[in-house]
Symmetry: C2
Subunit: 109 residues, 2 copies
DNA sequence: CTACTATATTCCAATATTGGAATATGTCAA
DNA sequence: TTGACATATTCCAATATTGGAATATAGTAG
């Protein structure tokens, strides 16, 4: 598997670039306990295979770590601190954009 | 345009989820000066329309800001501090993964 | 105006991502 | 062993993203 640096970084960013995967990461960040596939499927009201596949994508780039406990496969964030940095930065950008847009709407009134 | 919060965040992450766009952001972060489309096209040895389209994607989510100066459209990062946070966090994850993989390779020797 | 340069946009084919259903695998208990 | 449950994987159709060529637009100089 040959891959240059930007490709490797992009794989990580891409893994976060989906609403459900981002939501899963935020959820795991707040909950702080490993959660199993079924729990996440119920929580997000999604098909089990969909959740499983998204977790697999997150696992491939080591955003998430799998711990097998008997029947259950429990997932946690591998790097919670880094994920928090990213989510906070994204939130900051989104909030600033919302603020800017509301100002533009005001100007157009 | 109705969009829930995770959709909005995902749009920002998606904008970064491409090797060239990530490279453009890192470049603008280091250079600190606004750069025009042609400059970036030459620097990255890419088609002008490709660069223009990628910049447009970054601009749509306000990762990048356009300043028109005569003939030139110069682009800068709108939120350099946040972009640096994100890039640093991604680098940290990628480095840790590389380290882990090299250890796995060692184990297999 | 025309010519020239910079940039944006449109069009299109190739490729990638997605969700859901079905199926396969794995783990445990009886 | 069989059954029950948790999870992963495969398959497929719908959708999204991509790069490059061609075209359109914009700004400036002559």
């Amino acid at each position: 598997m040959k891959m240059d640096m930007f490709e490797a970084k992009t794989q990580v960013v891409k893994a976060l670039a989906h609403p459900l995967r981002l939501a899963i990461c935020e959820y795991l960040l707040n909950i702080k306990e490993p959660k199993c596939v079924n729990h996440l499927a119920n929580h997000f009201k999604k098909n089990q295979s969909v959740i499983s596949k998204h977790l697999s994508i997150l696992q491939q780039v080591n955003i998430v770590t799998l711990k097998k406990e008997g029947i259950y496969n429990r997932y946690t964030l591998s790097n919670p601190a880094q994920i928090r940095c990213i989510i906070d930065a994204i939130n900051s950008i989104v909030k600033e954009n919302a603020l800017k847009n509301s100002k533009i709407v005001e100007m157009m009134d």
